[in-house]
Symmetry: C3
Subunit: 117 residues, 3 copies
């Protein structure tokens, strides 16, 4: 992960990712076939449809669905580090899930804990 | 967070919250507008309705929905600490989600890890 | 936890469990009554049914539902340790959720952090 070169100095530890928002979230899933991304989007649209009778709609019909999808997935992830690399499985990729139709940039905080190489 | 003054002594680290129950859970979501809480409750009632043909109903119709809602949200949260404060975003609040209609008090375990100021 | 004797040497800390797959996941839930497991399976089958119009079906009809169920639950868990034991509540058990109808063995990575006894 080029965005976090500190990982390369860790023999054993954890990388913690935290997204500072309530309408975007994180998850780990298959990232080889782009169809998975499309299907995940379809599934979460069905699990939290815009058509439900939401009360909180001040930012539009995608506002509350975004909050529900955030709680259904993760605001933070924790991934093992070993010998300077992430121990993710072959098919695992880190998704930043943008749940709003229009959104600005998103802020993440990365924390590395562990023993140095 | 007045309940955990140890945070104030941490320069950089993580606060871990763990709820010791299977019918109440934790999540991070928007906490400015109380309508969000109401809508989240409505959404999770639709995602795990009491009307489904549950087998495990020994503690009432809200028993299994509470377990499902617990697995859909989080039993633990991990939040970055920097310079003695939590690094939550502007709109992020920590929810304790009570999924039972009637429940006693709930027990949480907080663990702080990091470097001292 | 016989599988991780290192826990016994930790006075205070965290056990991190990470599953290296995208069609199996982890969750903490009630593990006393086997009906809960059956009901959880029924609920997640309704939340991500094989009958939906999935695009990514290369490994069969249980392929995408498995990915969705993985994101709805957890790829990692973090559990407090105190005085050499896990601080789980009375009813809390750790589930490895196998979302595929047929699957090989699954790989987990356990990381223990904390202060020694």
């Amino acid at each position: 992960m080029g965005a976090c070169p500190e990982i390369r100095n860790v023999r054993i530890g954890l990388l913690h990712l935290f997204i500072c928002h309530t309408s975007a979230s994180l998850t780990i899933n298959e990232n080889a076939d782009p169809d998975v991304l499309q299907d995940l989007g379809m599934a979460f649209d069905r699990l939290a449809p815009e058509a439900w009778a939401w009360v909180h709609t001040c930012e539009g019909p995608d506002d509350m669905p975004a909050h529900v999808k955030t709680s259904l997935t993760d605001t933070s992830l924790s991934i093992p580090i070993r010998d300077g690399g992430l121990c993710t499985g072959t098919w695992q990729g880190i998704y930043l899930c943008e749940h709003r139709d229009r959104a600005g940039s998103r802020r993440l905080i990365l924390t590395v804990q562990g023993e140095s190489i």
